[in-house]
């Protein structure tokens, strides 16, 4: 990429409240390019919310999300827990996204097929996206995001509703996207998955960033009581 990178991402004193209820409070961190960052925490900790704020889908009540280069929205992507697929063919789902990013129609088909091939979906290119299996749908959503060659990819519980086989396929794809140079920021509540994929962990609890550590250290010796309880499977509430 010739243009300067949008990374690192600097989040400063981020807060979000709805109708007086604070859901996220005083979150600050910096995300560097390269490593795979996993956001962990119990349900309701604000993991998905944090991703949406960083991605710009929601405006924070307070605080800032700062990127290192202008026009960051076009250089990042997000994949949701339940893949949102258009009622079109698998290939058309990818070419639609390419068109939205201004790729000329002549190059869309080739780029779309290439993206499908990388996700192992090229045989399904002409199938309606909505009749694909859950795992195929999520891989298609990932392929669509990857086709945009984002510098950073947000993933919100991408395997939450998948069986183990499909989960493994999705994890392989995520690893491939990361190896291709895309920064991964992903939430999960699957600790095994976090161990497999994480380079570093951001641990959220009740709307606050409680701990941040390299993955091996986090899983071996979490510093905060909340993370210790979470890893032991205790219910602290």
């Amino acid at each position: 990429m010739s243009a300067p990178s949008i990374l690192p991402l600097a989040v400063a004193d981020l807060a979000f409240a709805v109708r007086g209820e604070t859901l996220l409070e005083g979150v600050s961190f910096r995300l560097e390019a390269g490593s795979r960052t996993i956001v962990l925490g119990p349900n309701g900790a604000g993991k998905s919310l944090l991703l949406r704020l960083c991605h710009g889908l929601l405006a924070p009540t307070r605080g800032r999300v700062e990127w290192a280069a202008p026009d960051p929205a076009r250089r990042q992507a997000m994949v949701f827990q339940r893949p949102v697929l258009l009622r079109r063919s698998a290939l058309a789902n990818v070419t639609y996204a390419l068109a939205a990013r201004g790729v000329s129609w002549r190059r869309r088909r080739a780029q779309g097929l290439e993206a499908l091939a990388r996700a192992g979906l090229v045989d399904l290119a002409d199938r309606p996206a909505r009749v694909l299996s859950g795992g195929e749908q999520q891989r298609l959503a990932l392929a669509r995001a990857w086709a945009l060659t984002p510098e950073l990819l947000f993933l919100d519980e991408p395997t939450a509703s998948l069986d183990p086989g499909a989960t493994r396929a999705v994890e392989h794809l995520i690893a491939a996207i990361a190896a291709d140079g895309t920064k991964i920021v992903m939430t999960t509540h699957d600790l095994g998955q976090a161990r497999r994929l994480a380079d570093e962990v951001l641990f959220l609890d009740r709307g606050r960033l409680v701990e941040r550590a390299p993955a091996d250290r986090f899983f071996a010796a979490p510093a905060s009581p909340a993370a210790q309880a979470f890893l032991k499977g205790d219910l602290p509430w």
Partner: protein
């Protein structure tokens, strides 16, 4: 009882040998209603999509208004169009009263709210699902509306069908603004009303049969279209 059976036989004969008077009336009916639906689609589809996607003050009031307008009484619409187009009305100089054009306009007014309201419903459900993803892709405005319209095309077929059903079945509006003039503005519904009161039950029944068959045909055809599209 005999009279009914005889009329039915006569009616069937007229339909089967494509009686000229009958065909003329059927063709005019189709032309008026299809054009009315086409024009209503031009207005109603974008309006419905806009109501589904856009957020602006007064949106809820407008949605209530459009929904309520689905039930506009045809005679009232006919009366209003009549007043607009009559000699002394604001559009009187155009000389459109008692022409097929006036009938098309009246039916278009009846059908537009139906198309708009049903389009809004279909698009709104889809938008609830798509909104975040499209924003993430940087898609908004007209492009988002076009996406939702295209992806909701199954619902739109139903909306247009409902509109066509409304247009082809109504009597009041076309009667008032068309005048039921033989060879000029006589359509199936107005002809049925007239022939029934004249006692020419054969033609009335024949037209009734055609109207029913047409409605079946259109709905059946639309079902096939929907099934074909659903597989894509």
């Amino acid at each position: 009882m005999n009279e009914i059976v005889d009329s039915f036989g006569l009616a069937l004969g007229m339909v089967l040998r494509l009686d000229a008077a009958l065909v003329e009336i059927v063709l005019l009916s189709l032309k008026v209603s299809l054009l009315a639906v086409a024009l209503a689609a031009l207005i109603g589809l974008p309006l419905g999509a806009a109501l589904a996607l856009a957020r602006f003050p007064g949106r809820h009031a407008l949605i209530v208004l459009v929904n309520a307008a689905m039930g506009l009484p045809p005679v009232v619409v006919g009366l209003v169009v009549y007043l607009m187009l009559s000699r002394s009305g604001p559009l009187g100089v155009m000389g459109l009263l008692f022409t097929p054009t006036a009938m098309i306009v009246a039916q278009m007014i009846l059908v537009t709210p139906i198309v708009a309201a049903l389009t809004r419903q279909g698009c709104e459900d889809l938008w609830a699902e798509y909104a975040e993803q499209l924003r993430s892709l940087g898609v908004g405005g007209v492009r988002a509306a076009a996406t939702v319209l295209w992806d909701g095309r199954l619902a739109l077929v139903t909306a247009l069908l409902a509109g066509f059903g409304r247009a082809s079945a109504e009597v009041g509006a076309v009667m008032i603004v068309g005048g039921n003039i033989d060879h000029v503005t006589r359509v199936m519904t107005t002809a049925i009303a007239l022939e029934t009161s004249k006692g020419d039950l054969a033609l009335a029944l024949g037209l009734g049969l055609v109207l029913l068959a047409l409605s079946l045909l259109v709905n059946g055809g639309a079902q096939l279209v929907k099934e074909a599209m659903a597989e894509r």
